[in-house]
């Protein structure tokens, strides 16, 4: 890449300059289109709900208020749903990452007799899966309906994640594991003491994938636990608001909403509740994402380049 900078002087023709300017303008527009909806949601969530109905809220709240957030967190169901979301993210990630790493270690050992069998058995399931109904019937058979563990058990091992970690372990110098064995460490101890600490970069990557997946998922809640409000998650609560307001908001004009807001004398409206929930549900990701972005990208390229 440094070679290019040497030749930079030569990029000076008119057409080159026009290309550059258009390119920068276009990419700036892309940034605006990507960020604007989030900023708009943020502004709506902090703006007085009845004032929002008048419209004209774009980038910044007109009448600042915490009312929307207070209202939502006073709804005990949503407060509880936030806790469940956090719990499934933490528990699910820890269990899944540890188990995936352990399995990846065993299939990375060249001398392991079951190595090929295990790998093929897992990779096969990337292409063939029973699908929705047999999966649902199994979960029902196992009595996991209406239980927290239905968020954890079915997804313990991610095959793609296992391949990412396996390739990483295979890239470690063989001598390290050999010397541990000569010192008398068993396979499990070698894994815990030697391999796990050395695999941290790969584990960080897959942790992020698993954690984001856990935090964002709503379909398992909808399918298995929709009758138990105490197991509901933030994303599912937002989904419920969305599906009730989708049809309503489409037909309900701003004037109707205004009237509804006035007559009920309530401090919140469906629009502002939805904006506030949207911000709460995406906030953890928006906050940690810029710092951890490089791990995401690394995982993507490790998995993508291998073929």
């Amino acid at each position: 890449m440094s070679d290019l900078s040497a030749s930079r002087k030569r990029y000076n023709s008119w057409s080159d300059k026009i290309f550059d300017i258009c390119n920068i303008i276009f990419l700036c527009m892309l940034v605006v289109v990507t960020l604007y909806p989030f900023i708009n949601m943020f502004a709506l969530s902090f703006n007085n709900a009845n004032d929002s109905i008048r419209g004209g809220i774009y980038l910044w709240p007109r009448e600042w208020t915490w009312e929307n957030y207070k209202y939502i967190f006073n709804e005990s169901s949503i407060y509880h749903a936030t806790l469940i979301s956090a719990l499934r993210t933490i528990v699910g990630t820890v269990i899944s990452v540890f188990c995936t790493a352990m399995l990846a270690y065993t299939v990375s050992r060249q001398e392991f007799v079951l190595r090929k069998f295990v790998t093929i058995a897992f990779v096969f399931t990337m292409y063939f899966s029973g699908g929705l109904i047999p999966g649902y019937l199994l979960i029902r058979e196992l009595d996991l309906i209406n239980s927290f563990w239905v968020y954890i058990f079915p997804g313990i091992i991610g095959v793609f994640n296992m391949i990412v970690v396996r390739s990483f372990i295979e890239g470690l110098p063989e001598g390290i594991m050999e010397s541990a064995k000569i010192d008398g460490a068993g396979e499990f101890m070698t894994f815990i003491r030697i391999v796990l600490p050395l695999t941290v970069p790969a584990l960080a990557t897959i942790s992020l994938f698993v954690a984001v997946g856990q935090w964002n998922s709503w379909f398992d809640v909808f399918l298995y636990n929709s009758s138990r409000i105490e197991l509901s998650t933030l994303q599912y609560e937002l989904m419920k608001i969305l599906s009730t307001s989708n049809t309503a908001a489409n037909s309900m004009s701003a004037a109707d909403q205004f009237a509804a807001g006035q007559s009920g004398a309530s401090m919140v409206t469906p629009t502002s509740i939805r904006a506030t929930m949207t911000i709460i549900a995406s906030l953890p990701i928006i906050m940690v994402y810029p710092f951890l972005q490089k791990y995401f990208v690394k995982g993507m390229t490790v998995g993508g380049v291998k073929g």
């Binding site: 029973g130 047999p134 196992l142 894994f191 489409n250 949207t278 073929g307």
Partner: protein, 324 residues
């Protein structure tokens, strides 16, 4: 995806098998490696339970399944469920919707991601490039629920899209974007691009860095313009990646996604938004017709696999890199 490594198996070669059976060294080795076995067999059991038992569940596609009955008491009906499926007009409709939405996603996704990757690569200010990249990846990590909430707010009658279009005098009055079936495919395609275009550039950007810089220099000395360099060096350099991704995506042509269609679709758009997955969900979970829904799901998986194998074979014929 699987790397083939020929196992020299030197340990068994040293010890002659005593009682002729080839299995004995295998079991001896298994015993020696009992720790590794202990560390992997629990997950094999997990795999069997959660991934292979549901495959066995495909048998209910050939039954008139009644949840209350035991397996042996179920009534077997042969291909009746499939016959019913292929005579059902809704099935053809959801099949059409699935294929159209997948194709839009495939074509639009490829074109936009490759274009964006090339544009990013042409940037000379590294800091600006990093900022754009970081921001463009962001929507990939938010859930479809959040995305659907954002999209339906933007497309609402008093949403930003209608406001902008009215300011530009392109429309006279607000359009109910999510209330008309004809608009759904376009909205879905645009939403998918919004969410994933940045993320999809990663693979292409990684591939661009492997192109030899001296090629660009040589082209420049020969007087090639910016567009000519993109056309004759960058794009050919991306060809292997494009082909392997195309294969992978062709294998998933029947999986147009489920969440965006389910979350953005509504009663007014079902004729366009319902796809195979939603069909399975509606027949299976809402109407309790497990057998028919399983048949539809099974059809999807088998056809997908055939597509994947065919695409892989074509790539092999063309002498390109392939999946397996």
């Amino acid at each position: 995806m699987e790397r083939t490594i020929i196992n020299p198996a030197p340990v068994t070669a040293k010890k002659p098998a005593r009682r002729g059976g080839g299995l004995q060294p295998f079991f001896r080795k298994l015993l020696q490696q009992r720790m590794l076995v202990l560390m992997s067999v629990p997950f094999l059991l997990w795999l069997f339970l959660f991934k292979y038992v549901p495959l066995w569940g495909w048998t209910i596609a050939f039954q008139k399944y009644r949840p209350a009955k035991a397996f042996n008491d179920q009534e077997w009906v042969g291909w009746a469920n499939f016959k019913f499926l292929f005579q059902d007009e809704t099935f053809y409709q959801v099949l059409r919707n699935t294929l159209v939405m997948s194709s839009i996603k495939l074509v639009l996704g490829f074109v936009t991601a490759i274009t964006l990757a090339i544009l990013l690569n042409e940037l000379r200010n590294i800091v600006f490039k990093r900022v754009v990249q970081t921001i463009s990846y962001l929507p990939h990590f938010i859930s479809w629920v959040v995305a659907a909430s954002i999209i339906s707010t933007a497309l609402a009658p008093e949403g930003i899209v209608n406001i902008l279009l009215m300011k530009l005098n392109l429309i006279d009055q607000p359009v109910l974007w999510l209330g008309k079936g004809e608009y759904f495919w376009g909205i879905l395609g645009a939403s998918e691009v919004w969410k994933d275009v940045g993320w999809n550039t990663i693979v292409y950007l990684a591939a661009i860095t492997t192109i030899d810089p001296s090629q660009y220099e040589a082209a420049e000395i020969d007087g090639a313009s910016r567009f000519q360099r993109i056309l004759h060096i960058t794009l050919p350099g991306l060809k292997p990646v494009i082909i392997i991704l195309l294969i992978m995506n062709l294998g998933h042509i029947l999986e147009a996604g489920f969440e965006p269609q389910y979350l953005l679709g509504n009663g007014m758009t079902v004729d366009y938004s319902d796809n195979l997955d939603i069909f399975v969900l509606k027949y299976g979970m809402d109407m309790g017709n497990y057998s028919l829904a399983t048949a539809a799901g099974m059809f999807k998986t088998v056809v997908s696999f055939v597509f994947l194998l065919s695409a892989n074979t074509i790539a092999k014929r063309m002498g390109e890199s392939r999946l397996f």
